[in-house]
């Protein structure tokens, strides 16, 4: 029921995003325009605007959904509700790759490829360094503290490289680099691959939702309840890594979605992953679509980077929740 209503809300967000902008598409024109877009014709202005905006909104949706899902997995993996997809430095690795490509004035495709390469490199390094933590059952009160610490340190190292590159970058490249860092959906083409990644991640998460509950509750002791702790941890690590890499490659490192959305869902629907996973994907997608719509309408025709909007909305919401939690 929750998932159903969220699905409707997500569709509403997509349509809302399609109609708002520098030129508004009226409600009366909407059914006809949707019909035209669905049939692959764009005869009227409304229809072509809708197609253009829908493409961007769909990219926002898939990015937000992937980030929220990766956030949930990371939180379950680290048993830490404050973890997010970026905490282990995967996005910082992507930043290093992408900024280096931007510094070299490479084409957009190369930038995306370099981002992916950076994310993969950091993931591999992290995996090699923290393999023991994944297996579980090493320490008496086993956990994933080595993994977390290794990730945080790798992230600082990557961020140092990022700062270095920003400081030596020429004026021309700097603006693009900063926009990439904050996360920006402008000019991102609608791709199929992120949807496949999200679908695969969602399938994995739903299959393991019950096991994730047991892992979140019992940590290493989950093994005595029939959970292959090592295999589940590795799965969570890799799937959330791929999701993060896909999202970051697509839209830069958009902050806060992976932290705020799982949190808000947990707050509203409880910690059960079987409800949490589908609702967070839908809510994360809708949230980013709305933020992106705001980003391109607030001071239109100038477009803001969407990452700035998510952080601006996310920070106060998150502080409020944290305060509630403490009480």
């Amino acid at each position: 029921m929750i998932v159903g209503s969220l699905l409707l809300a997500a569709l509403a967000c997509l349509l809302f995003s399609g109609t708002t902008g520098s030129v508004t598409v009226g409600l009366a024109e909407l059914p006809d325009a949707v019909d035209q877009v669905l049939h692959g014709r764009q005869d009227t202005l409304a229809a072509s605007l809708l197609a253009l905006r829908a493409g961007r909104a769909l990219t926002a949706f898939v990015t937000g959904g992937a980030l929220a899902l990766a956030g949930i997995m990371m939180q379950a993996l680290l048993r830490n509700p404050l973890a997010d997809p970026y905490v282990l430095g995967i996005s910082a690795g992507a930043s290093v790759g992408a900024l280096f490509a931007l510094l070299m004035m490479c084409a957009a495709v190369v930038v995306d490829g370099a981002a992916l390469l950076g994310a993969v490199a950091v993931s591999m390094l992290l995996y090699l360094l923290a393999r023991r933590d994944m297996r579980g059952g090493v320490a008496a009160e086993g956990g994933t503290s080595t993994l977390l610490l290794t990730g945080v340190i790798l992230m600082s190292a990557c961020m140092a490289l990022v700062t270095l590159m920003l400081s030596i970058a020429p004026e021309g490249a700097l603006r693009n680099m900063v926009f990439w860092m904050i996360g920006d959906l402008a000019g991102t083409p609608l791709r199929v691959l992120p949807w496949i990644v999200l679908a695969g991640g969602l399938a994995f998460a739903l299959r393991n939702a019950r096991a994730m509950n047991v892992l979140a509750l019992h940590a290493d002791t989950a093994r005595t309840l029939g959970i292959e702790v090592g295999r589940l941890r590795k799965g969570l690590f890799f799937v959330s890594g791929v999701l993060t890499a896909s999202a970051v490659t697509n839209a830069g490192s958009i902050g806060f979605v992976g932290l705020i959305v799982p949190h808000a869902c947990r707050f509203a629907f409880g910690p059960d992953h079987r409800v949490l996973i589908p609702s967070a994907v839908l809510l994360g997608g809708s949230f980013l679509v709305l933020c992106d719509t705001l980003a391109r309408t607030v001071i239109a025709p100038t477009q803001l980077p969407v990452g700035a909007i998510t952080a601006l909305i996310g920070a106060p919401v998150f502080l409020y929740q944290l305060h509630q939690l403490r009480k």
């Binding site: 739903l206 939702a209 019950r210 290493d220 002791t221 029939g226 409880g270 910690p271 059960d272 079987r274």
Partner: protein, 262 residues
């Protein structure tokens, strides 16, 4: 039920248990007794399958532990950890329902039978009124009883408990250990537990395993093993025993002169 052959456990180059040949039969109630760091929890974790043996083998129902599929094993034995940390706001009933995991292999949601088992287990631990509470808001003793309720809901023939009486008040210590004794005697369940209270252990156990922490061990029926001289040797402090109304009561020996001085 459990058989160990030549089991040796080492932690950081220290041999805690050497060549343990130990057999636990169905329906027996064992207490593992020893000083801090003597390897009690390490042994229990090894028997639970959370840790590998340094040497030797552990068998459950004649099958080597590593050869058991994890889910099948989870329907045979349950394990209560010494302590736990709760990171998320799960409710008490959620934690108990999670113990039903090995029974609903391919279902997405629990069935009503699982809910019934969970509620019964909570009632047996006198915590059914806490079912909807966030586990992070429970007191230490309440959390412990919820954890034991999860163990009961797992409904296994073998129960491994690391200090079940931890954080419990006197009344609940007695009722929980009484419940464990009843499970052994009436339902023929097998219990292996760690405890520091010799009197409680003597009251409910049929057998005891003493660990000295240097590799030495002694296993047998309580009447043979729980003797003041032996206990004093293994625990590193002289123990006196009083017979009172057919019960044996163990008290640590105190040097009265020393006490007078202080």
């Amino acid at each position: 039920m459990i058989t160990t052959e030549g089991l040796t456990l080492e932690v950081a180059d220290r041999t805690l248990v050497r060549d343990l040949d130990w057999t636990v039969q169905g329906g027996e109630c064992w207490s593992i007794i020893g000083r801090n760091g003597a390897g009690k929890s390490t042994l229990l974790r090894t028997v639970a399958g959370l840790r590998g043996a340094n040497q030797g083998t552990v068998r459950l129902d004649g099958r080597v532990l590593d050869d058991w599929p994890l889910e099948e094993l989870a329907r045979r034995r349950a394990y209560l950890a010494q302590s736990r940390t709760d990171a998320f706001a799960y409710s008490a009933i959620d934690t108990v329902l999670s113990a039903r995991h090995p029974y609903h292999a391919n279902r997405y949601w629990e069935g009503s039978d699982d809910h019934q088992a969970a509620l019964q287990a909570l009632a047996a631990m006198e915590v059914e009124h806490l079912a909807r509470r966030d586990v992070r808001t429970l007191s230490g003793g309440e959390r412990q009883r919820v954890a034991i309720a999860a163990l009961l809901a797992q409904d296994t023939p073998l129960l491994l408990l690391d200090e079940p009486a931890n954080a419990l008040d006197l009344a609940h210590q007695v009722s929980v250990t009484g419940l464990l004794a009843r499970l052994c005697r009436r339902e023929r369940k097998t219990v292996v537990m760690i405890g520091h209270d010799l009197n409680l252990a003597y009251g409910i156990s049929t057998h005891a395993l003493l660990l000295r922490g240097d590799g030495g061990w002694l296993a047998g029926p309580v009447a043979q093993v729980m003797q003041p001289a032996l206990l004093g040797d293994y625990l590193g402090h002289p123990i006196e025993m009083i017979e009172h109304g057919g019960r044996r009561i163990f008290i640590p020996f105190e040097d009265h002169h020393e006490r007078h001085d202080s």
